[in-house]
Symmetry: C2
DNA sequence: TGCCGCGCCGATAGGAGTATCGCCAACTCG
DNA sequence: CGAGTTGGCGATACTCCTATCGGCGCGGCA
């Protein structure tokens, strides 16, 4: 065997070409970076730690990336591509079926499944929004803002009024609230507290009935909330 | 003036005693640490950056703390004391009045006000939960778990059934959901999207009506959700 | 009033990380 | 088949951070 300490993953019969080998190493560096961000946060992300986890020498880092910023931007590009695929599926789900219980359940299920399948990406997204001075922080805030904007459009399309600034702000709050609900339960799942995704969606559906009255700009919105309280009081006698 | 580069804040007429001066410096170091965690995250937290922001020499750090871990634990102790005061107020609010609309609004308002008054602490709490390998991560997860446990107790006391593991899990999901709702809207406020706390609480109240049927372990819980859908469909014809 | 304690300081040694340099071996292509 | 390319490597210079050392000046106390 040559000088290299690298061991490639199983790759069929023939050895990798130079280009293929380089691409594999680059992918290992990106995967290593994502894993370290998940395990140790930005403080642990160094060329030394990334290359060690990727299984190459520290100086080999600079064959693939100009510096650490370059790696982080490459990671962001890759995460953005993956999220665009996910968001496209969520958008399709939200658009192609009428607004009923099954449709709403499906619009909850898609992001939950993505988060469950890619927990490192999910955690990086939700934790990075607090980073003030990093490219990851900017990426996360932009992604979450785009999610909110799209969800607000869904709510308006479903009937939530949008004529005044207060109405649009109300819709944005509902969108933020829905995202906060999903995030909280997904974290519960990832932290091992809730195993059953359908049970999670049941609770999300229950919370969601709370904003239904807002889907019509009518007195019934106020009446529905009053009615909910009345029913609660009645059921407790 | 003596050798020290320090400038004390205004402190009435008389100069500080030695003990007072030492306490002031220690407080400046803790405040500087919290500010740096907020601005730059754990990666920016070094003895050099903390002492520079506190306005003392780097080597003076070791007069007050054994090392950086010592400072972080001292910060955690201080944040824990402050949160105990806050949690006590929330507990009092949740206990001393009957379960009605005004009481529920108040139980939302207290944590929102604390977060709005202490945004750095709020952001540190919610961001640190993702830290796997830090004392701040452990502190945050413990604090949020305690919040969830107390909120679950509130829900059970308000009537949510607790006989089976599924019922307790359902209550925990509702508690997590409520926390997720509050956090999402508080972040919206801190990020400048929502200025009016009462408007935020209106939306929280609306979402909350969604879990009301769960407060009784009766067929009406299922009927209420079905009724909500029926009302939605009726209002859209 | 004088000595001691101590909070602050600058200088510094050692460690960790970044980025570069020069070399090697193997792949690629004409 | 041979020259050129290049991905990987070890060594290293430089920077930044941690932690210690010794000194200074001033507050505190007997």
């Amino acid at each position: 065997m040559g000088r290299s300490a690298m061991t490639f993953p199983a790759h069929g019969e023939r050895p990798l070409s130079r280009k293929e080998g380089k691409a594999v190493t680059r992918t290992r560096l990106l995967d290593a970076a994502l894993a370290i961000l998940d395990d140790e946060g930005e403080a642990g992300l160094t060329t030394t730690s990334v290359t060690r986890r990727a299984g190459i020498a520290q100086s080999s880092f600079y064959v693939h990336f100009a510096d650490m910023d370059d790696l982080v931007h490459a990671l962001i590009d890759e995460l953005t591509v993956r999220r665009l695929r996910q968001v496209r599926e969520v958008r399709r789900q939200a658009r192609t079926v009428p607004y009923d219980a099954d449709a709403l359940r499906a619009t909850f299920r898609v992001p939950i499944q993505h988060a469950v399948e890619h927990p490192q990406i999910f955690r990086l997204l939700v934790r990075s929004r607090y980073d003030r001075s990093t490219a990851l922080g900017e990426w996360s805030r932009a992604a979450l803002e785009e999610d909110r904007r799209a969800l607000v459009e869904d709510l308006h399309r479903a009937g939530m009024p949008r004529r005044t600034a207060a109405q649009r702000r109300r819709a944005a709050m509902v969108a933020d609230g829905l995202a906060g609900l999903v995030e909280a339960l997904v974290l519960g799942h990832l932290e091992g507290r809730y195993a059953d995704v359908d049970e999670m969606i049941d609770v999300l559906m229950a919370f969601s009935t709370g904003y239904f009255p807002m889907l019509t700009d009518s007195p019934s919105a106020v009446e529905a909330i009053a009615s909910a309280w009345k029913q609660l009081r009645a059921s407790r006698r």
